[in-house]
């Protein structure tokens, strides 16, 4: 338990350090939220000074950061400098699209890559193993924005089967079923683009974990006793492979709240990736800090959680060796 508590404290310290560095870098970048060099020439000096005073942009950095982290500790993540409304409201608006997009992509990756990895692990070196490896490796090398352009051109422009971009059509009058179907149609292309590149990594990870487990002390006797492929993989393999698979989960879960900038930009999906992009370019400090805090918390929670669960799943650790 002390190990878990220590990891929690370390994670909190990490978050403070990360947000501090992000804050310092963002403030150090040329330009601020009262306008870049170009707009500065158009805005009267008094107006810019008023903006700077309103945002406390002239206070010492240490005081600005201390004020922010104090507010966060009280549960207030501030207001956007560009949109002049609470950051929490903006996140609430953007989060569903990101979760839907990344969640669907993650589900697709797991549903395709896991069977591929299991199949490959059952007979390493078989034609299934080699074909899966070749196909997923090739897919990994296809740049996502290129794939997006080709899919848009083929399915939206040429065939007209799917919408070109956006997350919802204009016809919102339909029932909830029609609306769900509409969102689904809009998600097909972005989700495809977001998932194919990860197939290689995830299926290989599953394959390696299972092959290692099968070569271990638990796997060989099970196979010698004549366990069927399915039983061997599901019962013996996954249990032996629990630790690497948990590690994999720890790295995949953080993607739910980030990592889709390109796809969001190309398909015009109002998610967190494009919000971060616009906020960094617009020097919107509170929004960037809130997004860093959100993705940092999820990242650390997933990695730390996976670590602790992996320690617990290992009987040697669980029973005190």
């Amino acid at each position: 338990m002390t190990a878990a508590a220590r990891r929690l404290v370390t994670a909190a310290v990490t978050l403070v350090l990360v947000t501090l560095i992000v804050f310092a870098l963002l403030v150090a970048l040329p330009g601020d939220a009262s306008g870049d060099d170009e707009t500065a020439r158009r805005l009267p000096d008094e107006y810019r000074a008023a903006l700077r005073a309103q945002y406390h942009l002239d206070d010492p950095l240490a005081i600005r950061y201390a004020r922010w982290i104090g507010d966060v500790a009280r549960g207030d993540i501030g207001a956007s400098l560009r949109e002049h409304r609470p950051v929490a409201a903006i996140l609430r608006e953007r989060l569903p699209a990101s979760l839907a997009l990344n969640g669907a992509a993650l589900a697709v990756v797991i549903m395709i890559a896991t069977p591929l990895g299991i199949g490959a692990a059952w007979k390493p070196g078989s034609s299934l193993d080699r074909a899966g490896l070749a196909a997923t490796t090739a897919l990994y090398a296809v740049p996502v924005f290129w794939m997006a352009l080709l899919l848009q051109w083929l399915f939206a422009v040429r065939l007209g089967w799917l919408p070109l971009f956006g997350i919802e059509g204009d016809e919102r009058a339909g029932g909830s079923l029609a609306r769900t179907a509409d969102i689904f149609r809009h998600l097909v292309l972005p989700v495809t683009c977001l998932s194919y590149g990860s197939l290689a990594y995830v299926s290989r990870f599953v394959r390696t974990a299972l092959v290692d487990a099968a070569a271990g002390d638990g796997g060989r006797p099970a196979r010698a006793r004549g366990a069927t492929a399915l039983r061997y993989v599901t019962v013996h393999g996954t249990r032996q492979a629990a630790v690497p698979l948990l590690t994999l989960a720890g790295f995949l879960i953080p993607r739910l709240v980030g990592g889709s900038l390109l796809v969001e930009e190309i398909f015009n999906v109002p998610g967190l990736g494009s919000l971060l992009f616009d906020s960094v370019l617009g020097r919107d400090v509170p929004v960037v800090l809130a997004l860093t805090l959100l993705s940092g918390t999820v990242t650390l929670a997933a990695i730390t959680g996976a670590d602790l669960l992996a320690a617990w799943a290992d009987p040697r650790v669980r029973h005190g060796r």
Binding site: T14, I21, W146, L149, V157, A215, S295
Partner: protein, 276 residues
């Protein structure tokens, strides 16, 4: 038997073509930025083998110069990442304990940063000596600074696995110092994972450079970058297919080539059978 090696071999051949055109670009295509308003958006022909773009610039010339950017950024990024990640991974794997904990926490912290902000910061806040470097090198420094975690993780895992081996125990029993064990015994045995992570790092960097240039914060125009060319292609989607097809294909071959190279190095250097 033969089929298993066909993929990597094809990749290496295609990759070699791109590498040669990258090196020879200044002689083969001296003017990648020459604007010819007489032949705007011309389809592939004997004059312009791969067509022209919206400003009448020759796509093949720009593709060759884009190869310099893509391969250059890839190699430098991978080296920068290795220079940061390998020492950290070595210390974590060899010393263990507190050192391992510190490096592991540093890796977790690195994963929490918004990469885009770090890249922008390095590109625009660079100290004068760095600001004087060309675009490509600064972009590579930024991407390398972002991408050091895999090399640290792999070397750490490799050292953890190796250091309990008999050769290492024998060296330690013979009184070899920690530094000597790392440099003379552990590093040579870890050559395969080191080279493999460098090659994979170059492939990730090629994708990263193209992505940053695609969204407009990477290589600044008019320097040709495949990512920027693909962004241009988006505006002419449906009318000028050659604008999107060739840069994408080049990027695909480059990334696939780096990966094939990584696989080849692993099979060549690592005596352990890959498929048990």
């Amino acid at each position: 038997m033969g089929g298993e090696r066909l993929g990597p071999r094809l990749a290496v051949v295609a990759f070699a073509i791109i590498a040669v055109s990258a090196v020879a670009a200044p002689w083969l295509a001296p003017e990648p930025n020459r604007i010819d308003l007489e032949s705007v958006l011309a389809p592939p022909s004997t004059d312009h083998w791969l067509g022209t773009d919206g400003l009448g610039r020759d796509v093949l010339s720009r593709l060759a110069h884009g190869a310099r950017v893509s391969l250059g950024v890839g190699v430098v990024t991978a080296l920068v990442a290795a220079l940061i990640g390998l020492p950290l991974g070595a210390v974590a794997g060899y010393r263990g304990g507190v050192w391992d904990g510190a490096v592991s926490r540093a890796i977790e912290a690195a994963l929490c940063f918004p990469g885009l902000l770090i890249a922008l910061a390095i590109l625009s806040l660079a100290p004068p000596w760095l600001a004087r470097l060309p675009d490509t090198l600064r972009l590579a420094a930024a991407l390398g600074f972002l991408g050091w975690t895999p090399s640290a993780r792999y070397l750490r895992a490799e050292f953890l696995r190796l250091k309990t081996g008999e050769e290492i125990l024998a060296a330690r029993a013979a009184g070899a110092s920690g530094l000597r064990i790392v440099v003379r015994h552990l590093l040579p045995r870890s050559l395969a994972p080191i080279l493999v992570t460098i090659a994979f790092g170059a492939s990730a960097a090629a994708l990263g450079e193209a992505a940053l240039s695609f969204v407009g914060v990477g290589i600044s125009p008019p320097t040709p970058s495949w990512g920027e060319m693909l962004f241009e292609a988006m505006r002419h989607m449906g009318t000028a297919w050659w604008l999107a097809l060739f840069p994408g294909l080049a990027l695909f071959v480059t990334v696939y080539g780096w990966n094939g190279l990584a696989e080849g190095v692993r099979n060549w250097l690592d005596p352990r059978p890959r498929a048990l």
